[in-house]
């Protein structure tokens, strides 16, 4: 149901401020009702837009003035003693004069915007894009840095973590610490702990489904202060080893899986294959610790683990009444020192921290992460400033053209302040429209993004991408900042000392071409050529990599993700749990393969392990037996030995993988089983082309190095962790290539795996056209094998939609960069056309004095060309440094540098042509007379 106060809070706050008194409140209620009615008819976004638009209606403002008049009249008549508060913020009379001046300025500004529609559209679009990026980043980053927990006194709920001072990363195996903190901490109440993971849930006859579950201490519910909707939540008694196994479920799960059955309490379900009794249902929105929908008691026994071992725990609690986070931190530090003294070997380098509840769950572990977030915000805000500067250049060029008008107004008695105010308000009108549009874009995009992550179960319960007052304020601040850059700076310049001389030269005398203009052109071209090629290059790279599609007959394949829910038994640590899960999956996968091969509808069955990329390095062996660092970007994929045969991919050279290549284990690579020494691997065409320069790959040897946990590569790490050498035994064509650029593919290495994996992707090749028809049969076969076998994302391989969204985002970004290029070109055009126009009469006079037209044109163009070329040269040098430094590569991106230079030069030269030719056409007599 729509509640009235669901209306956008920021706009509602403005209404409340705008419409005073009892009548104002009643109008607000009427508007709320109307909002609810609109929302019944349209989407939420549509209703929000309607509500915000009400603010802009003239009758809203007429009403605001009328209500204030009424309140003042009542107060002066003594009938309304409480009316003082109604008129705060409005001066008795001076306000009206000020407001009428403001409304005049606003009308003028509006007229100016309409008068130059081109500039208005470019300016509004530019500022809208900048604002959308800035606000988007602001919402996401403030949500990360200043989270608002939707819990009673949510700001007092804190996380307790351990930072390993040596590695700089968080220590998460906190069983011993948790027990100590729970018993001894006084400044934090109800210290709670939870582990999170996917668990198989079986209810009645329905097939198993994976749910986001937490094993959580009963105290967590007291931290949350949320009462159950039905039944009870977990109690400390449930944590005893001998207690009956119970489970509490979330509202959405109750609705979707139990059809909202009011008699759900007492039903028995299987969680991770173990019977549990449902004892309660939590209300909507409860998803602690993060996005969980099912809770079982956490049973922790520190006696089972050494210090620093045991399950990964997330520990949190509520600050005791009157206690600050600093005081809690002080007490925790004391406990930490005591532990370090008692257990120097394990605890000496650990630093306990009290953090906002969400920080560890969002991956923020120390100040460095906060700093990164702040830098990100700064960079995106800088983009807006860059855009604003470009718009300012355009406006400046126009303001320069309006100098005569300004000079006349000064002569008629307008003060400098008055003129600057007017130009500022013109700019503010432009930037406000842009900011409002940007806000709407950001709001819509974030809502879509929020819905997408929520649908995928990736959204934490405190994340709210709705339009908050602070984001509206931020957009307003950006609008004012842009208006200052766009309006005030050109206005100050245009109303400076030279106004008087402009007045004298009103009939059109030559204004000298200042050095300022040359500098502006050089800077404008230079900045564009510096910043845009790397941005375009990165954008192009993102587009190419975002939408990578199979090159084989993908439409004949159904794919499905497989995993086995394995109960996390007490006493089992992470490694043991992984091993148990892998063993179970291996067993189920072999059975499943056997069952599927018997299906007449199928032409083949194979599987992939999880692809590992972006972390592990591939090293090539050079002629002298040493290692050559090859690339961090190669993708390593574990595949079944018959993978290429089932995919029907012909080998380009050498042989395919065999079961021998899937040999014995030899440690792990990035969480996957590594190959024993000497076994063969297969590489793709892109690997040969990009890393071996197209040379012979067969017989070359390579090895994998897993990424270091700290993220910092060192020779010691490589020496210690590098796997054994493997021989390249075959080359296959690129199995996936960018749909935008068929020659682009990721260098890939395929190694044979046995099914001992955490998760696997099953690929079945279906005979006939109706591939999707086999999907229900696939689920059916899987669920009869093992109810805890999770089979997710069953889809036709050709239609996997996950990359399309990324591609859209990448294309959108590239479009934005493109618009910025055009905006910069427009800026150069405007500057150049002003400088040459200002020389028009000089050209006319020189022509009158007998100068050759071609010499005159040469002089104009050589000057313009020199300015542009100098800017381009400086920019290109900086861009080269930036491209090289960022690893994007200079040679590969020379084209982008050339493109931006070309666009800027062209814009500048075209801008010079028109005024120069017009200068030549001035009648000599006219030019001389003016002189």
């Amino acid at each position: 149901m729509t509640r009235a106060h669901d209306a956008p809070p920021a706009a509602r706050a403005v209404f409340r401020r705008l419409l005073p008194g009892a009548r104002g409140r009643e109008v607000l209620r009427d508007l709320d009702r109307e909002y609810a009615a609109v929302r019944e008819r349209r989407s939420r976004a549509g209703a929000d837009v309607w509500y915000v638009a009400q603010l802009l209606r003239p009758d809203t403002w007429r009403l605001a003035f009328a209500l204030r008049r009424l309140a003042r009249a009542a107060a002066s008549a003594g009938t309304l003693p409480a009316a003082r508060g109604d008129v705060r913020g409005f001066r008795s009379d001076g306000g009206r004069a000020w407001l009428s001046g403001l409304s005049l300025d606003l009308r003028l500004a509006w007229r100016m915007l309409l008068k130059s529609p081109g500039l208005t559209v470019v300016g509004v679009l530019g500022i809208a894009i900048g604002t959308a990026l800035g606000v988007g980043a602001f919402v996401v980053l403030t949500g990360l840095v200043y989270p608002k927990l939707p819990l009673d006194e949510g700001e007092r709920v804190v996380a307790l973590t351990m930072l390993d001072a040596e590695s700089g990363s968080a220590e998460r195996q906190l069983v011993h610490e948790f027990v100590t903190w729970r018993e001894e901490l006084r400044s934090v109440e109800h210290v709670a702990a939870a582990t999170m993971g996917m668990r198989g849930l079986v209810t009645g006859d329905a097939p198993a489904m994976g749910v986001r579950a937490a094993e959580m201490t009963a105290s967590a519910f007291r931290v949350a202060r949320v009462q159950p909707l039905i039944g009870r939540y977990l109690l400390p008694e449930d944590e005893h080893e001998a207690a009956p196994r119970v489970v509490v479920i979330g509202y959405e799960l109750w609705q979707s899986r139990f059809e909202g059955d009011p008699a759900v309490v007492g039903r028995t379900v299987l969680v991770g294959g173990v019977p549990h009794d449902v004892v309660g249902v939590m209300p909507p929105g409860f998803a602690m610790p993060r996005e969980q929908e099912l809770w079982t008691p956490l049973r922790v026994d520190p006696g089972q683990y050494a210090r620093g071992a045991g399950p990964i725990l997330y520990v949190f609690g509520r600050l005791a009444p009157g206690v600050t986070r600093e005081r809690a931190q002080a007490e925790l530090t004391v406990l930490g020192r005591r532990a370090a003294a008692a257990f120097p070997e394990t605890d000496a380098h650990l630093r306990p921290l009290v953090l906002p509840y969400t920080y560890p769950l969002d991956g923020i572990e120390d100040r460095g992460d906060l700093w990164n977030a702040a830098m990100m915000q700064l960079i995106l805000s800088l983009l807006l400033i860059a855009i604003a500067v470009n718009v300012a250049v355009l406006v400046y060029a126009r303001t320069a053209m309006r100098r005569s008008e300004i000079a006349v107004r000064v002569a008629l008695g307008a003060s400098r302040r008055r003129i600057i105010t007017q130009l500022f308000i013109e700019a503010l009108a432009l930037s406000s429209v842009g900011a409002a549009l940007g806000l709407a874009i950001a709001h819509t995009a974030l809502e879509q993004f929020g819905a997408l992550t929520a649908a995928r179960g990736e959204s934490a319960f405190w994340v709210d991408y709705g339009l908050q007052p602070r984001s509206v304020l931020f957009a307003a601040a950006l609008a004012v900042l842009s208006a200052c850059i766009v309006g005030v700076v050109p206005a100050l310049k245009a109303t400076g000392r030279r106004v008087q001389s402009d007045l004298r030269g009103l009939s059109g005398a030559t204004a000298r071409l200042g050095r300022g203009w040359t500098a502006l052109i050089v800077v404008q071209v230079g900045v564009a050529v510096t910043v845009l090629p790397p941005a375009l290059s990165q954008g192009y790279r993102d587009i190419r990599t975002a939408d990578v599609r199979p090159t084989f007959a993908a439409h004949e394949f159904l794919t499905a993700d497989l995993a086995v829910a394995t109960p996390l038994d007490p006493g089992m640590d992470g490694v043991a749990h992984r091993a148990a899960a892998a063993a179970r999956l291996a067993l189920r996968l072999s059975e499943l393969e056997r069952r599927l091969e018997a299906e007449p509808a199928l032409a083949g069955v194979t599987f992939e392990g999880d692809a590992v990329s972006g972390g592990a390095r591939v090293e090539l062996e050079n002629a002298s037996g040493g290692a050559v660092f090859a690339t961090p970007d190669a993708q390593l994929t574990g595949v079944a030995p018959d993978y290429f045969e089932v995919l029907d991919v012909p080998l380009m050279a050498g042989r395919g993988l065999t079961t021998v290549d899937a040999g014995a284990d030899a440690g792990t690579i990035a969480g996957e089983t590594a190959r024993a020494p000497g076994v063969g691997v297969v590489v793709n065409e892109a690997f040969v082309r990009q890393l071996l320069d197209g040379g012979n790959a067969l017989g070359r040897r390579l090895r994998f190095v897993p990424p270091p946990e700290s993220g910092a590569w060192s020779d010691e790490h490589v020496a210690a962790e590098a796997g054994p050498w493997h021989e390249v035994v075959g080359v296959v064509p690129n199995l996936h290539a960018s749909s935008f650029d068929s020659t682009y593919a990721t260098p890939s290495v395929y190694y044979a795996v046995t099914p001992e994996l955490q998760t696997a992707t099953l690929l079945v090749r279906v005979r006939g056209d109706d591939v999707d028809a086999f999907a229900p049969r696939l689920r059916e076969i899987a669920s009869t094998l093992d109810p805890d076998l999770r089979i997710d994302r069953v889809a036709n391989l050709a239609r996997l939609p996950n990359t399309r969204f990324l591609a859209m985002v990448a294309i959108l970004l590239q479009l934005i960069f493109g618009i910025v290029v055009l905006l910069s070109a427009a800026g150069v055009h405007a500057l150049m056309s002003v400088t040459v126009t200002r020389r028009r009469r000089e050209i006319g006079v020189r022509a009158a004095l007998g100068a050759q037209p071609h010499r005159l044109l040469m002089s104009v163009f050589s000057r313009a060309g020199a300015q542009l070329a100098f800017g381009a040269l400086v920019g290109a040098a900086l861009a080269a440094a930036l491209l090289q430094g960022s690893g994007l590569g200079l040679i590969r991106n020379a084209g982008f540098v050339g493109l931006v230079v070309g666009v800027m030069m062209l814009a500048g030269l075209i801008a010079a042509t028109g005024p120069a030719l017009r200068g030549l056409r001035i009648h000599p007599m006219e030019a001389l007379r003016d002189e």
Partner: protein, 100 residues
């Protein structure tokens, strides 16, 4: 005092609604009877201006279901006079008017 068209309509709505003449009801009445769809703010601007001109008065009345009090409008004697004058002048103007 001469009345604007919307003022005229709003005052008639106030008369018709008697004890239920509050903002939202007046707006509904305008839509239902006169077929005039106007915004919440427009109705309220008109109501406040009528009050300023002394043509209407208002009282806070508790809502029937115990909700928040509502401001119910009524015509003042000056309001009645203005309404009647408007009606008379309108009738006079219509006298003898024939469509050509």
């Amino acid at each position: 005092m001469s009345l604007g068209e919307l003022q005229h309509l709003v005052m008639l709505a106030v008369v018709r609604l008697r004890d239920d003449a509050y903002g939202a009801a007046i707006r509904d009445e305008l839509r239902r009877v006169a077929g005039r769809s106007v915004s919440v703010q427009t109705v309220w601007v008109t109501l406040v201006r009528l009050e300023e001109q002394g043509l209407t008065g208002s009282d806070d009345v508790a809502a029937p279901e115990g909700g928040r009090p509502r401001r119910v409008f009524r015509l003042t004697p000056a309001g009645w006079r203005a309404l009647e004058e408007a009606r008379v002048s309108m009738a006079r103007m219509w006298e003898g008017v024939v469509r050509p």
